[in-house]
């Protein structure tokens, strides 16, 4: 837990005001990002992402399920986040639960897009096997192993990497069934299909400390924040979701400014992440 003295608080704030943060970064510089894929053998896809002291794992499991009656032409995706008390003592009990559900909600918001499916990172229709009968249910689980700020960006990156790593078995459906029966399905052991993850957005969190805002805040810096805005941006530069944290109000023009900065930052983050993911995939294939 961060208990900063008044002197330390001034040091953190003063550094941000002068564009030289405590760890030597500029306001809009990320810490180095490391990606490892295929870390969990039991899952269909998994990835571990480290950004500085923040360490998260995301896993994707796929299960055969039934589409909901409201959306018979779509598969289902559920996002769960677990903030383990091993990462930080404050995550134990209700504090962790609240944070977990907040993170899960924000991730769901930026992965699944609007009600009609516009702007979704995962195309739900691609999870359908037979309309109204069989579909894939994707369970995306995130685990926070160690927390040093900027959890949402790290989890977003981990989920993107895990989805790239995901391989779902090909399924054959017996063609002729009566309307009220479940069709027989045959899950292939050899043939797998991969996801197209190019439309999965990255999340950029801008944390406002004093009069300035920074990306990739550490826990120390987050303790000094007045508010934070998490913006998810996809490859074509469209905004796919936005959440604000922190009670302080923001001027509308500041938010619009943050959105344009986030769009700019997201381009380099997206490229960096893509190269890290492909390097991790290549590394996994070799071993």
């Amino acid at each position: 837990m961060v208990g900063l003295s008044i002197g330390e608080q001034h040091f953190v704030k003063g550094g941000i005001a002068q564009d030289l943060r405590t760890d030597g970064r500029k306001r809009l510089t990320y810490r180095p990002i490391y990606v490892e894929t295929g870390v969990i053998p039991q899952a269909n896809g998994s990835a571990r992402v480290r950004i500085g002291g923040t360490d998260v794992i995301a896993s994707v499991k796929a299960e055969i399920g039934r589409p909901s009656s409201l959306q018979p032409d779509k598969g289902k995706v559920a996002v769960f986040i677990d903030c383990s008390p091993t990462a930080e003592p404050t995550f134990g009990g209700r504090g962790g639960e609240e944070l977990s559900s907040e993170l899960a909600l924000a991730l769901q918001r930026c992965l699944l897009g609007g009600k009609s499916g516009a702007g979704a990172g995962i195309n739900l229709s691609s999870l359908l096997i037979k309309e109204g009968k069989v579909c894939w249910d994707l369970y995306i689980d995130g685990l926070v192993i160690s927390s040093d700020g900027n959890l949402l960006d790290a989890l977003g990156a981990a989920i993107k990497a895990a989805l790239t790593n995901t391989a779902i078995p090909k399924v054959q459906v017996s063609a002729e069934v009566a309307d009220d029966e479940q069709p027989e399905i045959d899950i292939s052991d050899e043939e797998y299909q991969q996801f197209d993850t190019s439309s999965v957005p990255v999340i950029v969190t801008l944390t406002k400390v004093g009069a300035h805002y920074i990306v990739d805040a550490t826990t120390e810096e987050e303790s000094q924040m007045s508010s934070a805005v998490s913006i998810s941006v996809n490859r074509v530069g469209h905004i796919c979701g936005l959440t604000k944290r922190g009670g302080c109000g923001l001027d509308p023009s500041v938010i619009l400014d943050m959105i344009s900065v986030a769009k700019h930052v997201s381009e380099s983050l997206m490229n960096k992440l893509d190269s890290e993911i492909s390097a991790a995939e290549a590394c996994e294939d070799e071993s």
């Binding site: 918001r109 979701g241 936005l242 922190g246 509308p252």
Partner: protein, 256 residues
């Protein structure tokens, strides 16, 4: 809870922004009308009343079209013994739906996060340092869900807090905008929310001109965000005036 005589419904539609560019798509998006026959930038009539529940410290009832919401505020009361000492007050928010609020049987699933979203929208405006060691409860009940439920709950909760005499920096107003195809429509109803491509919900303090809470889902381009923000800001300030009028009326009625 019956309407008091003279409680006129008023609306808070933003002024239509004069477009500098002519719309590129003329026929394809504008050939359909909204389910209740409103214009795209026209809000539903708003009816607001304070003092709906006599046993609460403060309460308010809001009716925006078919969306009917009642919010009661209890406290400040002593925080539970198990809670550690805090020199600022706590806020406890809960949003619930009646079983007959929506046409589908049973409880909807996507309302669980509303409680925390209401909390986040309110925590920034309440002067929590004015009631240390105590808790204020805000309970919202959606009697009928007719779309844009959360913004109505938030606006209604701010009225109820004022009615309870909780110190605040400003009123809180919330408005949402739906994006369907190329068109933006303010204050969507349930049918529109069901088929929207994106939604934009903004909570702001109209007098201080600050945004306290903003959530965006779906895919948005920057010009669309700018337009939606302008629409919401304008509608929020107008809704703020309506709420102020409602409070003034209630105050003058109690003086007599």
């Amino acid at each position: 809870m019956a309407s008091k005589p003279g409680a006129a419904t008023s609306t808070y539609s933003p002024k239509i922004v004069a477009r500098t560019r002519p719309p590129i798509f003329k026929d394809s998006d504008l050939d359909w009308t909204r389910p209740d026959g409103r214009g795209f930038h026209q809000c539903r009539p708003a009816l607001l009343q304070t003092g709906a529940v006599s046993s609460a410290s403060g309460s308010a009832y809001a009716e925006f079209g078919n969306t009917k919401v009642i919010v009661s505020v209890f406290g400040p009361r002593e925080s539970k013994k198990a809670m550690v000492y805090s020199d600022v007050g706590r806020l406890n928010c809960n949003v619930s739906y009646t079983t007959f609020a929506s046409p589908s049987a049973g409880q909807g699933t996507d309302h669980k996060e509303y409680s925390s979203m209401l909390h986040k929208a309110l925590e920034g405006v309440i002067m929590t340092e004015t009631f240390p060691k105590t808790t204020v409860d805000v309970f919202a009940l959606v009697l009928e869900s007719g779309g844009s439920d959360l913004p109505v709950v938030i606006s209604c909760a701010s009225l109820a807090l004022v009615d309870a005499g909780i110190m605040m920096y400003d009123l809180i107003t919330a408005v949402s905008v739906s994006c369907i195809g190329k068109s933006l429509m303010i204050d969507p109803v349930t049918e529109e929310e069901g088929c929207e491509d994106g939604s934009f919900t903004m909570t702001c303090m109209p007098s201080r001109y600050e945004i306290t809470q903003l959530t965006i889902t779906g895919e948005w381009t920057t010009p669309n965000i700018n337009e939606a923000m302008q629409l919401c800001l304008d509608a929020c300030s107008k809704l703020g005036e309506i709420m102020r009028d409602c409070l003034k009326q209630a105050a003058s009625a109690s003086d007599e």
